[in-house]
Structure formats: C-alpha cells, structure tokens
C-alpha cells in the first residue's frame, strides 16, 4: 500500500476526507474558521474531483435542514460549521438526531458572541451538548482527517443511526498545517461501503417522517435515542478496530498519556491535550508522576474508561474550555464529578476554565496546573472552579 503524505491544514484535511468518503451531499454556509473546508470542497467540485452535490446555502439553519432532507433520501451527507453557525443550527440539531439521520458535521470550535471572537473555545459545542449527536474531539490534523472517515462508519451503523460532530479547535487545528497520511481512495470507499437504509424517502415504500407525537408516545421515541447512544458507545471500539486495520491508527475514547503509574492527571479536550502531554513529558523527565487524559469521545460519555483511569490517583485537574454560567462546575468537570459520585469514587479534583476566546494555553500553563495539583494537599483543593489566567 502506497502511503501518501500531504501537508494539510485541519480544514483541508477534512475536505480531503469528505472527498474520499463518497459523500452525496454537502450543504454548508461559510463561517470563520470553517471556511477553508467549504472552499476546498468547492475547488474539488470545480475540478470534477467531487461527485456529490455541493449546496452553498443561505444560512447554517438551512445548511443543516438541507442535510436532514438529503440524508432522509438515504444519501451520505456532510456539513461543517462553527460558533454562531452551530448556534443558529441548534433547533435542527435535535431534528437531525430525532429523525436519526447519520449526518457527519465538522465543527471548528469557536467562541460565542458577545463579545465577538473568532478564536477558539468549546462554548459552541458545549451549548448544544444535549442535542443527541455523538460528539468527538480531535487533537491534531491527522486525527481530524481520520475521524471524518471513522464517523461515517459509526453513524451509518444500523444499531446507531445517529449524527456525529467532529470537533476541532479554531485556528490551532483548522489553520495549522501538519503532515497528514492519507488512506487510499479505494480503501476508504471499501471501508465505508454503502449501507442500505431501511427507512428513507422513497415512493416505492412511502413512509412519513417527522410525525407529531402525543405525551403518551413521545417519550418512547426519545428513549430510542438513549438506546442508540448506548449502542454507539459499544460500537465505537468495534469501528476503531476496523479503522485501525485500514489506517494503522487507533485513538480510543480517551487518549491516555503516562496515566498508568501517574499520581496526578489532567483531563483536557482538543488541541491543548497535545500541549499538556508535552508538559507532562518534560515533567516526567524530572521524575514527576503526572499524566494526561485527552477526552476524545464526549458524547456518549466514556464513564467506564474514566473510572478505570481514575483508579488510585491522588488528584486530578479537569480542564474546561467553556463556561456553564451559574453552574457548580463547567461541563467536563460536572460530568467527571457525577461519574465519580455515582461510583463511590472520590479522587480529589480541581476544576479549571482556561483558554476562553482563543487565549493561548502554553506548556508553562499546563505545568503550572500540574504544580498546583502537586503542591496543595488534595484534601484542601478548592471546591470552586478556577478561571485560570483571567485578569479580574
């Protein structure tokens, strides 16, 4: 197998993956920093390299609506957005998951207005975290490319049939150029196949989609989505195994770095996991027992894996790049605390909000946080979230 390597930005890598996935319909609206994805796909269209339909719609609301309509015909559908665009789609996110359309969407995570910022944080996805979509976060450009292909396979499984978001950090990944190993076109095509959908808009078998449900049956349909999420959790590892066979790469629900013998862990999502890992590596050279957990699968939440990795740790830092205003802790910290409480596990935890609106998170910052964990007596960890680095 000839391995092709290209220098690509995160956005470009995603466009390449979409081209290889035999996608039938892309409907998208430009928004910084997602624009390169739609521009690159448009280029493929202009050069006859993309065989699907590209619909440059008039808003993100219509982008996702167009995708839902397209997906219900049985077609393979992709879209991409960021920030305000995701917020505008919010209503249709629930329709897409409720109608069980296996759409794959790249979200270039960007802050939400106001104040207006085009830079990275996770407020956009976290604001829609209960929308019934599988949510994957990536750490680097290679992972962004791989996860698009992986996500179609996962989404289209008959026992799953849920939409998936692939989240990549604005600029840090979307515009950052890295060397990417591409999988051969034919291999991707064969890997995905064309799973037949039992229910689709087809005059030969005319079904009605999107019914109104009364209180005596609406709950049942919502519960079906709960079951599908559970199935997705199980299917995730299977699909990873299959994917590793064609790519030689496997990421896991959690990316674990020096975790086995660590005393202190940092839980973090997205590109800053790489920064944290580098800090941990340097600290390991000094004999300090620190490790990093990169939470790659956020919904369904990897409870079992989190519990396993927490076993026997002295203290943890949970890093959120979003704020849940007025809540006891931000989203990831709340989730981890809830998992621990439900399982009678009490690893001392500090919750941090960092890097809002694209504020840089440096190796030194990661080191500072590890040092806070190590220096303080775990029984004296502050209960309140620390807004790391903010000028108050």
């Amino acid at each position: 197998m000839m391995v092709q390597k290209l220098a690509l930005s995160g956005d470009e890598a995603i466009a390449y993956a979409v081209k290889q996935c035999d996608v039938d319909l892309v409907a998208a609206y430009p928004i910084t920093p997602q624009t390169i994805i739609v521009e690159k796909i448009s280029e493929f269209v202009a050069n006859g390299e993309f065989d699907g339909e590209f619909i440059p719609v008039e808003s993100e609301h219509s982008a996702l609506s167009t995708c839902v309509g397209g997906s219900l015909t049985g077609a393979r559908v992709f879209t991409a957005t960021a920030s305000q665009g995701l917020a505008l789609m919010h209503e249709i996110l629930y329709a897409a998951s409720g109608l069980r359309t296996p759409i794959v969407m790249a979200i270039v995570n960007r802050a939400l207005n106001s104040p207006l910022s085009i830079h990275n944080d996770h407020a956009d996805m976290m604001g829609s975290r209960d929308c019934g979509w599988i949510q994957i976060y990536v750490e680097n450009v290679q992972e962004a490319y791989d996860r698009i292909i992986f996500s179609f396979k996962l989404a289209e499984r008959e026992d799953v049939l849920l939409p998936v978001t692939v989240n990549l950090d604005a600029f840090f990944l979307s515009h950052n150029v890295e060397s990417v190993e591409l999988i051969e076109d034919g291999v991707v095509k064969k890997f995905l196949g064309r799973p037949k959908r039992k229910y689709r808009l087809d005059p030969d078998e005319p079904y009605s989609f999107g019914a109104m449900a009364y209180p005596w049956n609406c709950f049942e349909f919502k519960y079906q989505q709960v079951v599908a999420m559970r199935n997705a959790y199980k299917a995730f590892d299977e699909v990873e195994d299959e994917f590793s066979k064609i790519s030689g790469r496997k990421y896991g629900k959690l990316g674990k770095y020096w975790t086995d013998d660590a005393d202190y862990l940092m839980f973090i999502m997205g590109s800053s996991a790489g920064t944290a890992k580098y800090a941990a590596r340097l600290m390991r050279q000094e004999g300090l027992k620190v490790g990093v957990v990169s939470v790659k699968l956020y919904r369904p939440f990897p409870e079992k894996e989190i519990l396993e990795v927490l076993e026997g740790k002295k203290g943890i830092a949970v890093m959120d790049r979003s704020i849940s205003f007025g809540a006891p802790t931000p989203p990831l910290a709340s989730d981890i605390r809830s998992v621990m409480f439900a399982n009678d596990m009490k690893v001392p935890m500090m919750s941090f909000v960092y890097g809002m609106g694209g504020r840089d998170f440096s190796v030194q910052d990661a080191r500072n946080i590890f040092e806070m964990l190590m220096k303080k007596d775990p029984s004296e960890y502050p209960k309140e979230t620390i807004y790391y680095g903010v000028k108050a």
């Binding site: 409907a27 339909e53 719609v57 982008a63 309509g69 077609a75 079904y207």
Partner: protein, 313 residues
C-alpha cells in the same frame, strides 16, 4: 413549457396521495387545495411540509394521512429540506444509487411570508427543481389566529383585534408573489381552491419546469375567517370574483391573468361574508374600509399593469 393539461375531473386518478382520517377542521380549505394539487401531480411525488395546520393534523402518531413519502422537519425550513431532498436524489441518480422524483413543499402563510422567507429565497435562488406551495389562510391558524405578513389590512386576528383606536391589522398584506417573481424563477402563479382546473393546470405547468416553481394558493379558513364551513369554496370564489385575489401566472417573467374579472362583484360581498372583516362595514371604520378597498384595487391594477408591461416579452 410542455405539460398535459387537465380538461375534466373524470381523467383524474381515483387513488390519492392524501388519505381521509386526518384531523384538519371540518370544511378546511387547505386539504381541498392539497388534494387538488396531489391529484394533478405525478404519483411518485415526495412531500415536505412546514410546521402548521397541515403538518400537525395529518401526522399525529400513529396516524398519517400520507400515501406518498412525506417529511416534516421544522417551521421555517421546508424549502431548505426540499432543496436537500432534490439535490441528494440528483447525486444518487448520477451515481446509480437512486432515482429523482418530483418534490413539493407546503408551507402556510406564516411558514412562507414570515419565518420561512429566507429558506424559500435561498432555495429559489439556487434553482432547485421543486414546487413550493404557500397555502395562504392569511394568519397563524394553527396557533389560534394570530396575524402574519399575509394577513390583509383591517383584518381581525387575536393579535390585531379591532377596537376604539385600531381597525384590526394596520399593515398591508405583503406582496409575496412580487418577492418570489423577483428571483427570476421559471414559473410562479396564484391559485384558488375554488378554481380547480386553473389550479391543477398550474401545478402541471409548475412541475414541468426544470427549476423552482411557486404557487400561492388561497385557502379560506372557516375558524379564522369566521364563516360557516359549508361556505369555504364560495368564499374562495368570491375572493376571485371581487378581485380580492387575482388569479395569474408569471412564466419566465411574463405575467398573464388566467381568470380575468372584467366585472368584479362589490368587495362588500366578500367582506360581509366573514366575521374577521365584517366590522369594516361599521360607520366608525369607514376610513379603514376605504383603505382596504383601495389596496384591493391597487393590487389588481398592479397585476394588470405587469401583464401589459411584459406582454411583448
């Protein structure tokens, strides 16, 4: 435009894509229109419906009244959903995975004039091959008769009641056809459920276009307009005969009045037949009545003028 015109009712199919047992109100004008449209359309049509009366009343789980593939996603996006279906089928056909089918989207006046105008404009501009039907009952009837951009001046609704200082709605009915036609689509037409042949042939023409088409259909609502359900077709007919709702089409930019009304009936006949407008005949609303009348006259003259202006095209 090449299409097979309908001449008699006997040539229409006996099997319909809308089944009975739906829960639209007794005497509803919308389903009269939907039936006529689907009778004129090919059997293999795919229907998209915006949130509204037609949606909630035809598909309440486990009951659906549709025999054709049907989908509802949200209120403001019927045109976008239809775009997606059309484009996806096009790709599937090209790749040998599927086949194209005609697509019809139905939206009410709220879902078209107001909340859905952006999605409609986008879909028309992009040139998708589909028919969008605005079934206009001139207010948000599903939520209980609130005013929309399609509600005419002087009309009583629950959010524009008439009172000591207001005659009902104080704004004019938006020129929806003007907006649609401005997109330069191949075909747009107005229609009334009372003129079935006119409507059905417009549907045939619309579906023969290789691009977007639009039908603005007047569908009287006995609950919201306040009249006896048995009078639904009569009221729709009066709307045409009094020039309140001119029936015309715009084919590649050329206007044509399809049902000319050389000697209109007095507008008062249309007004007095409906509880939502009847107050305009009281002396205290004389000014409002004059405004209402002038708007009706102006709109008909506008259509006549456009017909004349585009006749040499």
């Amino acid at each position: 435009m090449s299409y097979k015109p309908i001449r008699t009712l006997f040539e229409l199919p006996t099997e319909e894509n809308l089944a009975p047992g739906h829960r639209m109100c007794s005497g509803c004008g919308v389903t009269v229109g939907v039936r006529q449209i689907l009778l004129a359309a090919p059997k293999d049509v795919i229907v998209v419906t915006a949130t509204g009366c037609l949606e909630v009343s035809t598909v309440a789980y486990p009951y659906t009244a549709w025999r054709c593939p049907w989908v509802h996603v949200a209120f403001e996006n019927a045109a976008a959903v239809a775009s997606g279906i059309e484009a996806a089928l096009k790709a599937l056909e090209r790749k040998g995975y599927g086949k194209r089918h005609p697509v019809i989207a139905f939206g009410g006046d709220g879902g078209t004039y107001d909340i859905g105008i952006q999605a409609l404009s986008g879909a028309l501009e992009r040139g998708h091959r589909f028919l969008y039907v605005c079934y206009d009952n001139e207010a948000y009837m599903n939520t209980g008769i609130q005013r929309s951009g399609g509600t005419p001046y002087g009309t009583w609704t629950t959010t524009t009641p008439f009172g000591k200082v207001r005659p009902g709605k104080t704004e004019v009915k938006k020129n929806l056809m003007g907006i649609v036609v401005a997109h330069g689509i191949p075909y747009a037409a107005t229609a009334s459920i009372s003129h079935w042949k006119d409507l059905m042939n417009k549907v045939r023409k619309a579906l023969s276009c290789d691009g977007p088409s639009f039908i603005h259909l007047l569908t009287p609502c006995n609950r919201g307009w306040r009249f006896d359900p048995a009078q639904t077709i009569r009221i729709a007919k009066l709307a045409v005969e009094t020039r309140y709702f001119p029936l015309y089409e715009v084919e590649n930019g050329v206007y044509r009045i399809t049902v000319p009304v050389p000697r209109p009936k007095p507008i008062e006949e249309f007004i007095k037949a409906q509880g939502r407008l009847r107050h305009l005949l009281r002396p205290e609303y004389a000014d409002a009545l004059a405004t209402f009348k002038k708007q009706v006259e102006d709109y008909y003259s506008y259509v006549e003028m456009m017909t004349k202006a585009t006749s040499s095209k």
